[in-house]
């Protein structure tokens, strides 16, 4: 319920595309089952559209011919059958582009989310593929709209992130090889993230979204993996990408009654508060969405619920250079 309230508070930011991918999915899940929220978003999106329309400007004249030429080469997708918003619907979309190399194993991934091999949300593909092979457009993101929102595909079964790799490889060998190589690198350095992805996929919606974010992170060719020992016992591993970082640690002591581990981003000598991390039998994990290149991650033990500024010394600090 509190997740619903969190999502509800985000409706305005969602209508302005001012949320991150994980939050977007949280809101879209709310919209699927809450007509009031869906109505509010429809109104706010119509309002936001007016903010854009207020700047209406004639585009360059040549654009018209370019677009008309492009659409004559572009295959259209069929309507989504609402009664069958499931893997099948997603598959139709995917196969629309890739009929020639569609395979039987290919029953989960849509090409739309090129860097999310595991848990797929079908929001429409990159635009104007000039060839049948799906390309990774500059904007491989969902095209959130009232129309698309209900087409969220509930991802795959728990534990899917790893097997999906093979599904992708059937269609996009080059990318998949890259992904495999990166995943192998990450897994070689630290088994924890993949285990994490699987564990989280088994914990319901929010965890599934996080697992998708983890998959994206592992797919990021620029991500680096860092690790360090935790004061008092345990090992911490971070996967650091340009705009997001995953922190995970195992073998930790209990934080103590009424206390929790909290993640921090260290930037320019300041500690920016991130989530508290519930202790799960000595393991903790969190995604830091505000992470930026050059930032470090730190963990402290804080009063339950977390703090705005650290009240104790960090038990571990992960810096980008500490490879």
């Amino acid at each position: 319920v509190s997740t619903d309230d969190d999502a509800r508070a985000l409706l305005g930011a969602y209508a302005l595309d001012a949320v991150d991918d994980v939050e977007r999915r949280e809101v879209e899940r709310l919209l699927e089952r809450d007509a009031d929220a869906a109505r509010e978003v429809a109104g706010l999106q119509a309002t936001a559209a007016l903010l854009g329309a207020a700047g209406s400007t004639q585009p360059p004249a040549a654009l018209r011919a370019d677009v008309l030429a492009a659409i004559s080469r572009t295959r259209q997708v069929p309507a989504v059958d609402d009664a069958a918003v499931d893997h099948t619907a997603s598959d139709h979309t995917a196969s629309d582009h890739t009929a020639s190399d569609h395979t039987a194993s290919d029953h989960t991934a849509s090409d739309d989310t090129a860097v999310t091999p595991g848990l797929v949300v079908d929001h429409g593909s990159p635009t104007a593929p000039p060839t049948p092979r799906p390309t990774t457009a500059a904007t491989p993101f969902p095209t959130s709209s009232p129309t698309d929102a209900p087409s969220v595909v509930p991802g795959t079964e728990p534990g899917a992130p790893i097997p999906i790799t093979s599904a992708r490889s059937a269609r996009t060998p080059r990318r998949s090889t890259t992904w495999l190589a990166i995943a192998a690198t990450a897994l070689g350095a630290a088994v924890v993230p993949s285990v994490l992805a699987v564990q989280q996929a088994q914990r319901g919606d929010r965890a599934e979204q996080q697992a998708q974010a983890v998959a994206e992170l592992l797919a990021d060719p620029d991500a680096t993996v860092v690790r360090a020992d935790v004061t008092g016992g345990g090992t911490a591993v971070g996967v650091l990408a340009d705009e997001r970082a995953l922190f995970t640690a195992t073998g930790l002591d209990e934080p103590g009654a009424g206390r929790e581990y909290q993640l921090w981003i260290l930037r320019d000598g300041e500690a920016l508060p991130e989530d508290v991390m519930p202790d799960d039998d000595g393991s903790v994990r969190a995604l830091a969405d505000d992470f930026r290149p050059g930032d470090a991650l730190a963990v402290t033990v804080e009063p339950a619920g977390g703090s705005q500024t650290p009240t104790t010394d960090p038990v571990v600090v992960l810096t980008p250079t500490e490879v």
Partner: protein, 227 residues
């Protein structure tokens, strides 16, 4: 969709309210006659982009050309407002219009107008582009410099003067300064609410509320009526 809106009385001004109809897919001005009666425009007067889109879904390229003519200026304007660069805006406009063609069958008029659908997509793609190209720092400064004035028309002399535009300006002026700031930074600046909060040194929950409350106030001021 016959909801009536109380006319706003502004002394000495031409009083107009607008409604957004999913069937029309566009803003339609409602004029108030001197005796105070509200006159609705006839639906037949308004181009039915939504109806055209249904034909587009069937592969009708001629219908698409009409949809392009109806939507491209708003799509381009939306992209330009965020990207502040004509070349980027043109590229994203092309992406968006091709996507409109490609996914026309997915459009559901019950959920909103074709125009809202296209402009939601346009904003999303423009924001994606902004976040990808990382001109963030420069744009931030420009957005901050401009937000107090005219966030959506500084980039181009070719902006189309329209009633929509005047209404939006009027309603943006009706927000509290903090709502105005948050909405403008998020919509035209392409920033996440977390970035907005960071920049304004405000708590996340506060910024979420400012954005939502500000949008609701804008919605009511603009007379947006949803299904």
């Amino acid at each position: 969709m016959t909801a009536t809106l109380a006319p706003v009385r502004v002394r000495g001004c031409d009083v107009r309210r607008y409604r957004v109809s999913p069937a029309w897919g566009t803003l339609a001005p409602m004029t108030t006659t001197p005796d105070g009666a509200t006159r609705m425009p006839a639906a037949d007067d308004v181009p039915t982009t939504d109806a055209l889109l249904a034909r587009v879904a069937g592969g009708d390229e001629a219908a698409f050309a009409q949809v392009y003519d109806a939507l491209a200026p708003a799509v381009y304007g939306t992209c330009l407002g965020v990207l502040r660069d004509r070349d980027h805006a043109a590229e994203v406009t092309q992406e968006v219009m091709v996507e409109v063609w490609r996914t026309a069958a997915r459009f559901d008029a019950a959920l909103g107008s074709a125009r809202t659908w296209a402009l939601t997509l346009a904003h999303r793609r423009a924001v994606d582009r902004v976040r990808a190209v990382q001109a963030q720092r420069n744009r931030d400064q420009r957005v901050l410099d401009e937000q107090g004035e005219r966030p959506f028309d500084v980039v181009s002399e070719q902006v189309e003067e329209s009633l929509d535009r005047e209404r939006v300006r009027h309603c943006l002026d009706g927000l509290t300064p903090t709502q105005h700031e948050a909405v403008v930074l998020a919509y035209y600046g392409g920033r996440t609410y977390r970035e907005v909060a960071d920049q304004l040194a405000a708590p996340l929950a506060t910024v979420k509320s400012r954005i939502r409350d500000g949008l609701i106030r804008l919605r009511d001021c603009l007379g947006v009526v949803t299904p």
